[in-house]
Symmetry: C2
Subunit: 199 residues, 2 copies
């Protein structure tokens, strides 16, 4: 009932706007991400976000960065929960990849398809970090064709393409369980190094 000035009043509006953006995207797809929308969600005037994001693209970039952080965390969690061994870690990462894309299709589109500021160092770092997860678990397993670059691009293309086909509506992959089954059949086709006795 008091005035309580230094309380959680306006903690961090910038973060609140980003979180609101992620919620809007989850509920209405990537096109639901608007300046007026996040402002209304946070309960602030629609001119307020201008002080934190100069343009809609800047807001979108910030949402994409947060998306990459969560994407990275999702893949790391999948690795942590996987049975031991490098092959299991790689498969778990791939499954985590496509599962995230299915559970957050709008956010995925913001991260990979919508126009963002690719020159933003924070975006580059966030995207690179999520990329590195896949690169890290691929390196010990895949017997790549042309060094590290080819190996990583191979694995990433396969996981990303599979996700894109799901989100693109390919009828045979619309059932999540079946799609994962297909993925588990496909993935071991990649040229793997011989197992090095992890049991």
């Amino acid at each position: 009932m008091t005035d309580r000035k230094p309380l959680p009043k306006k903690k961090n509006i910038r973060e609140a706007l980003i979180d609101a953006g992620i919620e809007l995207v989850r509920e209405g797809g990537s096109k639901a991400l608007t300046i007026r929308g996040v402002a209304a969600r946070v309960g602030v005037s629609h001119a307020a976000p201008k002080h934190h994001f100069a343009t809609l693209e800047a807001l979108r970039t910030a949402v994409a960065i947060e998306g990459h952080h969560r994407f990275t965390a999702a893949m790391e969690a999948a690795i942590a929960e996987a049975p031991p061994g490098p092959r299991e870690a790689l498969v778990a990462t791939g499954i985590g990849y496509i599962r995230f894309s299915r559970e957050h299709p709008g956010l995925f589109q913001v991260m990979f398809s919508d126009p963002v500021d690719r020159e933003d160092p924070a975006f580059q770092e966030a995207a690179h970090t999520s990329y590195q997860v896949l690169a890290r678990v691929s390196a010990p397993v895949i017997h790549g064709p042309a060094g590290a670059e080819g190996t990583e691009t191979l694995v990433w293309s396969l996981a990303h393409g599979f996700s894109a086909l799901i989100l693109g509506g390919k009828p045979e992959l619309q059932d999540p369980a079946h799609a994962e089954e297909v993925f588990r059949q496909i993935f071991p086709v990649l040229p793997m190094r011989p197992p090095q006795g992890h049991r």
Copy 2:
């Protein structure tokens, strides 16, 4: 100078609207596809398209169908120009795939990412036909993991994912020549049947 009634006056407005849509998408990306836009392009009132497309999604679906037709033709042309042999045909198809996606990024997005009427039989057939090109050239070459479904999905995921990474802005793949080189290194990693003496 005469009135010439039965001349190429209003040949086929529906097709003209679709062509205009493809041009708009090429010039301004998939978001440039609007009812008012195609009407203005054709030189017709903005209420006219309603007689041919009930909703924006119906127009978008028609553009996506035409896109799939052109996509199919592009891959067939790449196959026709390739050196003889099933492996060469497969690689050429993959290259044709990613090349089309780079040359028509907006149309590619309409075809695979934007909301269209996936129940439309014409759309299903057009998408299936382009899919079948990749399936056809894959079957004799790839030693698939789990029958035809797995084989086709494997090849498609790889080509589609590679394209998506390019369009998504992955820095290392922005140079077309270098991207194709990487793709040519990656692709043969797939488990191929032994060559059956095609020379």
